[in-house]
Symmetry: C2
Subunit: 412 residues, 2 copies
């Protein structure tokens, strides 16, 4: 569900994959009018898996909720001219370009000749403009070496494209900061953000870079343990698993109370000469502590362990698959006001998430589902560029723009 | 390095761990004056690993670059009153609270009585206010089940606290949107964002939730393969590894050219009746394709493979540890304008990252290093609350505030 907070701001998005579309989605969910431009027939990401049997991509429809879609032949000069006109159309709310497709005809300097207060945000792989993806940046950032058991012969990539996410939200933030500044000064801005920089800056912010430089040490792989405190996964009697975390002292005490582990842990502390009130010493003895707790989890089914952990105020989470989550966790259901049911053309009704932030007293509005490609071509050309029916008709006839694709799930 | 973009905006941050401090860091790196409030002696995260031999946390100093530090006894009513006064101090740039520590005395309604246009951003674990951490949210979100080899008995947690990152940047975005709105309407806002919602919304945005609901299928664990296209890690002759990605057709062609694999792959396509121009069909045949490519990587040392991949414009990344990255990758060096050398009290000189975004023509300013705890107590009390030396002295004498801790690396 979207907010009206950024109402009046129009962003033209020429994009593919995750980072740029997710930045656009974020802006859309706060009320911006995000006009996504795609090649007629769809760009690089239009058919990405997973797909409906009739072909619609659940990846594309997930990332393009709440946007308007304009389909243009981007190879034709007239198509490019249209996109340039959309980006630079006058009006206080327009003049924002979000893209990860760096092409000469979307060059900021070129477009700024037509609209000097243009804000362009360009998402790149590397800062020199060369290609990099989440996966190739992640391997360099060192996380696969410390994920899982950390065998040097078998680094483990995480499945979540985390750098794309972080890049998307930083790009949305940067766009907003530049728009705020523009409202104040009248000046536009050219913003560039590289996926590689997103990953490598994180190493600085989380201390791993200084650790490598100043302490001259690499973080070690520690399986499912939490670095720097105590936390790990445990198997219950029914084979299901729980993650528990004891970072704060309150969480640690609650865990020990739940598992009746205080005597055994006190004995362990004494034998090791450690003080587990200090999180770093819990971390040091993590394997021994886990061994003390394991029998408690192994002795009862997960549901019972959850009840007891919850009763003591311990910090725990269930391991689940997405289907299990959807069927058994109220946080992912219409009971959570972040979620609503969208009826997406070519997909049907399904649960979908709006803006994560809850704003007290601020009404959320229904999110329009991801459009069929080109669904808003005519509307946007008329509204933003003032083209009349005849002019739009000629663009269609010349194959420069296209209207909505047929909904693959309907007949006729 | 910081930008002057948000100059004039003051944010009071009462926080611990990653999400809220990283949101504050983001605001600081765009020029906001972020005043971090901590308990005298440091809060929950002040001593988190990794630490210098003399005790300074590289985690804390990484997340608190560019902020001012005020140390207050938060258990004392007078200390709480001071923080409330800092949050609600008049002036157009103040009145922003960022916190993940929900306490009654920082309640938005209470503070808004003193400053009606207050913007409060509260980061929570779960939306109902109950505790959850990155690790316990991640287990529920289903990623450990599809990371690594995906044994149901051995889910693999990723080592990166990705949900904390995504939450931080979304919180920074929300604060900015609310501040923009306030400049326009004069109205404040109470914003709440739950880590769990950050994770579960991502499942919707990336299509996994619809996949589970509409297609009734869970994503499978696929090791280091890239879902939906072709990409995987390969071992070179010297045992070092590379990640390669062939998502776009251009990347796929470049990879085949590099590895002289076109004939073998064409043969494979024919034998399987597939068309590898379609990324989904590359994905379907991923193991067979990888088997074709493996000997090429195994036949040469990594440096040579990199040169050849680069020459053809393939998309690749090296696997490295953070130390290897720091020593051998120019992207993490002073040659990258995002990085600068900070001299952090208690740590010494080290490479640190500023804002990821590059803004054309916008000068970056040096980032002040993370302060010693309480380094700005007196300065902030004077500047923001107008307290004079006598009043500040009495607060010190009564143990309600504290000045800078001693730098643990200096004598005397």
């Amino acid at each position: 569900m979207t907010y009206p907070l950024l109402q009046g701001l129009r962003v033209v998005e020429s994009s593919a994959f995750i980072a740029a579309p997710l930045a656009g989605l974020t802006l859309a969910q706060y009320g911006a009018d995000v006009v996504r431009i795609d090649m007629i027939g769809g760009g690089l990401d239009y058919a990405r898996l997973p797909r409906m049997p009739q072909g619609r991509s659940l990846y594309w429809t997930g990332l393009n909720k709440g946007k308007r879609s304009v389909a243009v032949d981007l190879r034709k000069p007239e198509g490019r001219e249209l996109v340039q006109a959309l980006v630079t159309a006058p009006g206080p709310g327009g003049g924002v370009l979000l893209t990860n497709i760096a092409t000469a005809w979307l060059d900021h300097g070129l477009l700024a000749q037509r609209r000097p207060d243009l804000v362009s945000c360009i998402i790149q792989g590397n800062a020199d403009g060369s290609t990099a993806l989440d996966y190739t940046v992640n391997s360099a950032a060192g996380y696969p070496a410390i994920t899982g058991d950390g065998s040097p012969d078998a680094p483990v990539n995480h499945a979540l494209p985390a750098w794309d996410l972080a890049c998307a939200y930083q790009a949305a933030f940067a766009v907003l900061a530049a728009v705020m500044q523009r409202r104040h000064t009248g000046q536009g801005a050219l913003l560039k953000i590289a996926l590689a920089d997103v990953a490598f800056s994180t190493l600085s912010h989380l201390g791993l870079l200084a650790e490598a430089e100043v302490l001259q040490q690499d973080r070690k792989a520690i399986g499912n343990h939490i670095y720097g405190a105590f936390g790990r996964d445990f198997a219950c009697a029914d084979g299901r698993r729980l993650m528990v975390a004891a970072i704060s002292l309150g969480q640690w005490d609650a865990l020990l109370r739940t598992c009746d582990a205080l005597p055994a842990v006190t004995e362990l502390e004494a034998s090791l000469g450690l003080d587990f009130r200090d999180e770093a010493q819990r971390y040091q003895a993590r394997d021994a502590i886990a061994a003390v707790l394991e029998p408690w989890f192994a002795a009862r089914p997960r549901a019972q362990a959850e009840t007891l952990l919850e009763r003591q105020g311990a910090c725990w989470g269930r391991y689940s698959t997405v289907r299990e989550l959807l069927h058994a966790d109220a946080r992912v259901s219409p009971a959570n006001p972040m979620f609503e049911t969208l009826d997406t053309p070519g997909v049907g009704a399904h649960l979908a998430a709006g803006a994560t932030v809850r704003i007290a007293g601020e009404p959320r509005q229904p999110t329009p589902p991801a459009p069929l490609l080109g669904a808003h071509t005519d509307e946007v050309l008329h509204e933003v560029l003032g083209l009349d029916g005849g002019a739009i008709g000629r663009l269609h006839d010349a194959g420069i723009v296209a209207g909505p694709e047929r909904d693959p799930t309907t007949q006729g």
